[in-house]
């Protein structure tokens, strides 16, 4: 079966697009017919299967300064060529270029409803920003790897346009997109782990299936100098919610948190609260919510002037099998609210 050749629009920055170096980084978007620079390599890989019908070029600073608007301008230029797919870069290690490629690809997908593919080196900030939205092929750090990078990008682009199933990141050479899937293995966990142990015992190489986690360091806030005038808040991941769970916080793998006021209350009443948490026996916290959010004890300390004031609003979510990035996100949001409410310190209780 012969199919119509693909119409490809290629995106380049000022340097690869031939406008010039750093001094041209402010230049706005333009588009010209046909391939140029790295686009010629794309054209040779596509051969008769497709045609690079146009090349959009824009300065990196121009995109960097007003990313949304610039990406939109570029997409409007691309739209005129009615492409089947957009290929951007590769940007290798160039940070601003990588971010621009990511932003253009994302906008193309959103606005034109067609796939887009780009390529970058792992350290490029564009990977961090756009890997969830855009297929980013993993490249080397310099133009020396241009041919190899473009081969992978074109292969992935062809697959995407054809609607073929995209392989695993390692197979198709792109950065994982934040999607986790439980796949079926030919062999049970027991078979695989015993084999792995025997390999390790016999000094043979083995391939772990689970990686050590990357923990991002959290630098502690400076200590509170005068507790007598400090406002202290209570925060928990133990799943304490007002009766009826008004915010619908999940019992595991939570994506939401809530802030709940207790103005003028000296002791949380069991009837007013519920515990929605599938990771521990919640009986005791249900019987007495102060075991989780110790309002009773904090009020006592408040009366004794051990702290300036108890913040009359506690924050709560459910910490069970919660994804790290979600924990970070919720933690940042809770911290921001506490800060805007003038809280000077927080006590976190976990289960």
């Amino acid at each position: 079966m012969t199919s119509k050749p693909l119409r490809v629009v290629h995106y380049l920055n000022q340097f690869f697009g031939g406008l010039g170096g750093e001094e041209q980084a402010h230049r706005g978007p333009q588009i010209i017919d046909g391939p140029m620079g790295p686009g010629r390599v794309i054209q040779s890989r596509l051969a008769e299967k497709g045609e690079v019908v146009a090349t959009a070029v824009c300065g990196d600073d121009y995109v960097g300064e007003k990313m949304e608007a610039a990406a939109d301008e570029i997409v409007q230029l691309i739209r005129r060529y009615d492409p089947d797919i957009v290929i951007a870069g590769p940007a290798f290690e160039a940070g601003r270029y990588g971010v621009a490629c990511g932003a253009v690809c994302k906008k193309v997908q959103e606005t034109l409803g067609i796939p887009a593919v780009t390529g970058m080196y792992g350290e490029n900030p564009g990977v961090d920003l756009f890997h969830k939205d855009v297929y980013i092929v993993q490249t080397g750090d310099s133009v020396k790897t241009m041919n190899e990078a473009i081969t992978k990008m074109v292969n992935l682009a062809m697959k995407r346009v054809a609607g073929h199933k995209i392989g695993k990141p390692a197979e198709d050479g792109y950065f994982p997109r934040g999607i986790l899937v439980n796949e079926k293995s030919e062999r049970s966990g027991a078979e695989r782990v015993v084999t792995m142990l025997l390999d390790k015992l016999n000094g043979r190489p083995f391939e772990p299936e689970v990686l050590q986690p990357t923990h991002y360091p959290v630098s502690p806030a400076p200590r509170i100098k005068d507790m007598g005038s400090a406002t202290i808040a209570l925060v928990t991941d133990g799943g304490l919610v007002p009766a009826g769970n008004p915010d619908g916080i999940e019992s595991k793998n939570a994506t939401r948190f809530g802030g709940y006021g207790f103005k003028g209350i000296d002791c949380l009443a069991a009837d007013d609260y519920d515990v929605n948490h599938s990771g521990y026996a919640t009986v005791f916290a249900r019987q007495n919510p102060n075991r989780l959010i110790p309002v009773d004890a904090m009020r006592e300390i408040e009366r004794e002037r051990g702290i300036g004031k108890l913040h009359e609003r506690f924050y709560s979510t459910t910490g069970v099998a919660t994804r790290l990035e979600m924990s970070r996100k919720m933690g940042q949001a809770i911290a921001a609210e506490l800060k805007s409410e003038g809280v000077s310190g927080a006590i976190l209780t976990s289960t």
């Binding site: 439980n182 142990l197 390790k200 689970v210 050590q212």
Partner: protein, 429 residues
Amino acid sequence: MRLELNVVHITKVQFAGVTAVRNGVLSVNRQELRALVKKDTRLTDVDIELANPGDQCRIVNVADVIEPRARTANSGPDFPGAVGMQGTAGHGSTCVLRGAAVLINDYDIGGRRYQRPDEGIIDMWGPGAEIGPYGRTCNVIVLALPADGTSIDDYCVALKIAGLKTAVYLAKAGADLAPDQVEIYDIPSIRETAADMPELPRVTYIFQVFTNQRVPLPGDSVLYGHHIEKIVPTILHPNEVFDGAVMDPYRGYAATYLIQNHPMIKELYQNHGKHLYFVGVIISNAPNNAPEYERTANVAANLAKWILGADGAVLTKIGGGAPELTMARTAQRCEELGIKTALALMHQGIDASEITLKASTIFSNVPQVDAMVSMGASTASPMLTLPPAEKVVGALDGSRIGVEIRRPASDIKGSFSQLGDSRLVAVRY
């Protein structure tokens, strides 16, 4: 210790006048079995239901699954300490009705106390039966309510014993038959085996049975009739573990059935004498605080090193995050003593936004603990649409759960397993 499992294959279960096994069909005298269960005065409204693979039947609130097994004459008591007198499991011979299972069902009474209600779903047909192992067994379901004056805790204990008794009662019907298959599990004392296979690496399995994330059910039979919530790691012969000494804690993360068919122990047995020498199982709990899990890790690693003389250890966990810490620390202590380790885990807390090619997990970095096998991630559990059922067993209000429901796959009993039979691998895309 040598054990013969006399396996009788069951392909169908039905009610009949006499409890018997014939041509793979398990017939059950409903009245007789009800009367047996009713002997325990802590239970009332006892009933027995059956479900065969393919039936459009949904069973919910399943608290445990037990494989029907009975010890043959002179082999010792059944489920020592729980059903029978104290004794030793794992030697002699045991009749197994393979393909059959006893389910105990605590409506939502135990659920309210020990877990969320309506977890532990078994569908006998459709997508639920495809992902859960107990939709493919011929099931005998024991239903009962607490008698007046019986606490929920006592009710749960009684129900589990009722399930175990039922398992024995059914398997006795197959005990006099010629088995379809005989499986032999034989590992002599370390002294004899060590002389036989000096060149093979000595491997132990460190098996977490209970996590102290959960409140233990007082009086629950987990090891020879007692709970293990305060256990110091101890060594068992592999045969004891799967022949009735160890049971899943009430509404635990595994199922007694799974321990009776322990996938990791089976795998180590298959390699025993060929690639390794299986020196025994170390069982432990997973404490919920640092001093206790440090203690558990040290004692388990010391047993492996100084008592069993292990060169290698495989480890599994039961439950979520705290058990993962205990497992990792135990593996670390083993590695420090020169014992190589490999871990198989259902991992969680994964940072999906990371761009590494493989999924990680949450426990702290221990460089030596580098051999980890994925048994799936609960956060990657897909939502399943389960079609309406013709019949619902085990819910106070069947109409609510008998309709089409949408649930995470992990709500299907046995769909995630931490003991080694899982074929799931968490993969990033």
